[in-house]
Amino acid sequence: MTAGPRPTLVRELLRAAAWLVVVGAVMLGVLAALDAVPAWINGESRDVRLASSLEDAERRVRARLVLPAYFPDTLGWPPERIRVLAGQPPAVALQVTARGGGETRLVLAQTIGVGEIPERLLPPAGALDEASVAIAGGQGRLRRIVGPDGQIWREVAWTQGDRTLVARSKGSLEELLRMVRSARVQP
């Protein structure tokens, strides 16, 4: 038997592999922590990205967005915050403030394809009442909800083509329905 140096080499290699695993694990941990920082600063989930413009959001989801053709001049445009979630299907949420800035007055969320709008993009809200409304030749669902700020919001949810859309507003119901009924894919 000439097994003299072999066990030493194997032992050394095992030791080397163990250190490699340790270093790799530490590196992965550091990278994951660094990756989580931007989302933590923005108060978002890791996979929710902020787009710098509507064009940027459309580039990311590789589709034109459904936007209201009617937009009241009391609201500011472009949206204050554009949140994008890549996935199956991708989804986008636009947060709009009043013209002079301040708190969010309108949220317009949509999926790009068949599916539900993820809760990370549009948190669920308790409904106070619910009714049916006619939108884009189909039926939508109108609800009064308690928003994240504790105030009463109005929410309209409908489907348009293969997309699921939800609009939440703190404005008047008439304005909200007008916006929703004018929503279409921008040419």
Partner: protein, 325 residues
């Protein structure tokens, strides 16, 4: 490709460079790698990562550029820092700009001596004793005895140069400064550089640095590789000459030239310019470390263990770079 895509490719290369460099440096310390050849091999992996693996991943897997990969599969995505803005500027752009600027500064620092106009000094007839020394030392180092260029100047000059026609340059000042043993050891060191084809390697490395001019990790690792090449030449020279004499020659040359072994003469060897760091303290520490290493026993080098560890590290680094976008 539009500018955004180029920025993504550059950012990925930079992050891959940092990941590879940090892991390799950690492994060198944890594995207690003392042999300069193994250190060179491991550090080469830190250069290969951003040079080969990063572009290969970009070309072979375009889906890695998608938000779905970046947001759901990648452990780290540089673009996520785009969502954090300071004074309206995305931090992604800030750090990409800052790291690129630091990499370019490191590269320019080492390129400057190369671009300086050369001061050609007339060659004098080579002393026969010096030629005999070079010939005698070349055989044990398995290198053809190179021509010697002798400079009849008082300043000490000793270096090797040339890719196609390797040459050793020695000055009268060096012959006067070093005693016989020290001169032999120092010439053996230069011959060891030639036997390892360090002039060609150093030019290749400078080419890689130019190609990855935006990558600070590559610039730093390349400098570390230059130090490894010096240590390797020391080790090889120590096998045919006296290690203590080589340490003594190193100290004498360093003291006489203020850290510039080329004696103010421009050189065409990027390894050498990489060592000509602008920080005097760093140069002093380099020489100190080399001398200490020469005074210690020869480090054990087990080629089979070294090769296995380099392969192990390569596999680990590849897996790490795959999950970083």
């Amino acid at each position: 490709m539009h500018a955004g895509t180029w920025a993504d490719v550059a950012a990925q290369s930079i992050v891959h460079g940092f990941v590879c460099a940090v892991v390799v440096e950690a492994l060198i310390r944890l594995w207690r790698v003392a042999a300069p050849t193994e250190r060179l091999g491991l550090r080469l992996l830190a250069v290969i990562g951003p040079l080969v693996v990063s572009p290969a991943l970009v070309l072979a897997f375009p889906a890695r550029a998608s938000d779905e990969f970046r947001d759901h599969f990648a452990v780290f995505t540089a673009r996520h820092w785009e969502d954090v803005r300071v004074l309206g500027v995305p931090l992604f752009s800030v750090w990409l700009g800052a790291l690129t600027a630091s990499a370019v500064a490191l590269l320019v620092m080492d390129l400057k001596p190369l671009l300086r106009r050369r001061r050609e000094l007339p060659a004098a007839p080579v002393p026969p004793a010096l030629e005999r020394t070079v010939e005698a030392l070349a055989a044990p180092l398995r290198v053809a005895a190179p021509p010697v260029r002798f400079l009849d100047i008082a300043g000490p000059v000793l270096f090797c140069t040339g890719v196609r026609r390797p040459t050793i340059v020695v000055s009268r000042g060096t012959l006067e400064l070093l005693d016989g043993e020290e001169l032999e050891a120092a010439i053996a060191h230069e011959l060891a550089h030639l036997s390892a084809r360090d002039p060609s390697v150093s030019w290749t490395l400078m080419g890689v640095r130019l190609l990855l001019f935006f990558n600070p990790a590559v610039q730093v690792v390349a400098r570390a590789m230059a130090r490894d090449a010096e240590a390797r030449a020391d080790e090889r020279a120590g096998r045919v000459g006296d290690r203590v004499a080589l340490a003594s020659a190193l100290l004498k040359l360093f003291r006489a030239t203020n850290g510039d072994a080329a004696g103010g003469i421009s050189r065409t060897l990027p390894f050498a310019t990489a060592l000509a760091e602008p920080f005097r303290r760093a140069r002093t520490l380099d020489v100190e470390a080399r001398c200490l290493r020469l005074l210690e026993p020869v480090p054990a080098h087990r080629p089979e263990l070294a090769a296995a560890r380099v392969l192990l590290a390569a596999a680990g680094l590849f897996l790490l770079t795959v999950v970083v976008a």
